[in-house]
């Protein structure tokens, strides 16, 4: 009864408090360290530092979306980077249209790569991207509809487990090949870059970049709260029940396919938003973002951080990417081995990730109600 509800919130709140507190700290500290602290001070956050922190936050949002479907619903999507990239491309198209006549070829409408390809007019799917609101709409709509169509087909046919993982890899690989083609109209292997401004604000100014970073942190916080509300709702318990005993929940009268589809689409939209926030801060988007290895890396971040906690996924994304930044600048050739080893070690020794280490003490208290009788009854063979 009432104490039951309290027990649930107390168990989750420590992590949530740390997570949201950390984000608030970023929102306060980053502008100060970049704008107020003078560049001569060792505490000054450079433009490079800004980009880095912004990137980590976008990755944390992407990791959040993977944790929602994998950690809670048990769907191991190895194609999440596809939705991230589609969101990124939608934002990129807007930023390309914003360049206008300032491109190298000076065409008032056509982006440089189209002039280079001798295209005479803007393809139909580029229409509307001169409006920011339209781009925002597409950032949610394009990844969302792809997830809807793909998920509807896959879940309705009851594709699960490793088979689903493989076809999500195939999805992102197919998109990568498609986006590499020049005649697709997305800039081929160069993708989009050389952005000038966003809604008239100069993307090269630190002040604008600080604002972008703060917006990213706020979006991450909001997405976290929404995800937390979803997993804490009864639907969230259905989702966890699907993860643990899919066929059982069907016999209770729940349409497993429809729950999976909702979660999959929502998580794709989150990934799309992460991609859209990533592109203006990083300044480039190309088909390499679709590469299958990217999606696998996200899964590693989540596993390392600790899946099924939301904040663990975000922490994992930041930690692993910080390590990647560090390693790739000192011993670049060792990074992939280190990442692989990390994944193996975490899977073997830390099934609940780094968060599991930290919250181990708290969890033990929750287990005191374990009944003394543990003997399993005789198992009879199925007919």
């Amino acid at each position: 009864m009432p104490q039951y509800t309290l027990w649930i919130s107390a168990r989750k709140d420590a992590g949530t408090a740390w997570f949201l507190g950390g984000l608030a700290l970023v929102v306060v500290l980053v502008p100060i360290l970049n704008q107020v602290v003078p560049p001569s001070s060792p505490f000054h956050l450079s433009a490079y530092g800004l980009t880095l922190v912004g990137k980590y936050l976008c990755y944390a949002l992407l990791a959040l979306s993977v944790d929602l479907i994998w950690g809670y619903c048990g769907i191991l999507s190895l194609g999440q980077a596809a939705f991230f990239s589609l969101g990124g491309y939608a934002m990129g198209m807007y930023l390309m249209r914003e360049i206008g006549p300032r491109g190298v070829y000076g065409d008032p409408v056509l982006p440089d790569f189209m002039v280079f390809l001798n295209w005479k007019s803007l393809p139909w799917f580029w229409q509307g991207f001169n409006h920011f609101w339209f781009a925002i709409l597409m950032i949610a709509l394009v990844p969302g509809s792809l997830a809807l169509a793909f998920g509807w087909l896959a879940f309705r046919s009851r594709v699960t487990g490793v088979y689903l993982s493989i076809i999500t890899q195939a999805l992102t690989y197919a998109l990568m090949l498609a986006f590499f083609r020049n005649d697709m109209g997305f800039g081929g292997n160069n993708g989009f870059t050389d952005f000038k401004d966003i809604m008239g604000f100069d993307l090269h100014s630190d002040r604008v970049r600080v604002v972008l970073l703060v917006i990213t942190a706020i979006m991450l916080g909001l997405s976290y709260v929404v995800c937390r509300m979803i997993v804490a709702s009864r639907a969230g318990r259905v989702i966890r029940a699907i993860r643990d005993a899919e066929s059982r929940i069907r016999f209770l009268g729940y349409r497993v396919e429809s729950f999976k589809l909702w979660v999959f689409v929502f998580s794709a939209v989150l990934a799309g938003i992460a991609g859209a926030l990533y592109v203006p801060q990083i300044g480039i988007i190309n088909p390499g973002e679709f590469s299958p290895i990217n999606s696998i890396e996200v899964v590693i971040w989540v596993a390392v951080g600790g899946r099924g906690t939301l904040y663990g996924a975000a922490a994992g994304a930041v930690l692993v990417n910080y390590a990647k930044t560090y390693f790739t600048s000192t011993i670049p050739e060792a990074w992939n081995y280190a990442l692989g080893a990390l994944f193996v070690l975490v899977t073997l020794f830390l099934p609940r990730g780094i968060i599991g280490l930290v919250s181990g003490r708290v969890k033990k208290q929750g287990k005191t109600e374990r009944p003394l009788i543990q003997a399993g009854g005789p198992e009879r063979s199925r007919e």
Partner: protein, 248 residues
């Protein structure tokens, strides 16, 4: 007597797996409010029959109707569950990483769409109902324990409790007393008997003592069809049943 009036009709059901006929022209009728026990040697088709009724397995031929009109073969598993047919599995399957309370909560009857569950708030009536069932299944003390930490017999009880939450018209109960102590078996027998009348109950069980203690009517399955039907004494004295159970 019975609050519902739907009869379950299983007619000429045939299911084959790679040429092996798990069900062979099976015909069976369960009256509203009836408590029926189904026995039979391993491979007789007991579980397959439940699989077909609940939509898990599609038959090669035959019909399954619930009430005069409802064709169960046209429905999916969740639709069949929503139509008022609940099932307890042979191997107890509870949600191991949800608490006992949450396990029962998920089984609550009602609208089970995504959006509805997303915004669902537990009502006082629902909580009261959950605690009622917790008392019935004797797990009120453990309502905060995770499903996975329960003993085998307790899991069986929890699954029966989930069945009660669904408020089904027809309960299909596969081996409810496997792994239970004698005392627990007695309580299960009393519970199932109290459910009959208001619900129709079909029990598949190997434990003959248990069947004898609860059954009014027993159906013996053998090689996918009905071998004998009647009360326990009739069935046990039937020479065909003796032959199947003791070997020729």
């Amino acid at each position: 007597m019975s609050v519902h009036d739907k009869t379950l009709y299983v007619e000429q059901l045939t299911v084959s797996f790679d040429g092996f006929k798990a069900l062979n022209d099976l015909t069976l009728k369960i009256q509203p409010g009836e408590l029926r026990c189904i026995i039979g040697p391993n491979g007789a088709g007991k579980t397959t029959m439940m699989d077909v009724i609940t939509g898990k397995t599609r038959p090669d031929s035959g019909t399954v109707r619930f009430g005069p009109k409802l064709n169960l073969l046209a429905l999916s598993e969740p639709e069949i569950a929503q139509a008022g047919i609940g099932r307890k599995f042979q191997k107890p399957t509870v949600f191991e990483r949800l608490t006992v309370f949450e396990n029962l909560e998920l089984a609550l009857a009602g609208d089970k769409s995504f959006l509805n569950t997303l915004f669902a708030r537990r009502t006082v009536a629902q909580e009261t109902r959950i605690f009622e069932v917790l008392e019935i299944i004797g797990l009120a003390q453990q309502h905060q324990a995770l499903g996975g930490t329960l003993a085998h017999g307790q899991k069986q009880w929890l699954e029966i409790g989930m069945l009660l939450m669904q408020e089904p018209e027809l309960l299909l109960v596969d081996e409810p007393v496997a792994g239970m102590t004698l005392q627990e078996i007695e309580r299960t027998a009393a519970l199932l008997q109290s459910l009959a009348g208001e619900h129709s109950v079909v029990v598949v069980e190997h434990d003959m003592e248990f069947v004898r203690s609860i059954a009014k009517r027993v159906t013996v399955l053998h090689e996918g069809r009905v071998l004998a039907e009647g009360d326990m004494d009739q069935v046990q004295s039937d020479p065909r049943v003796i032959e199947v159970y003791l070997g020729a």
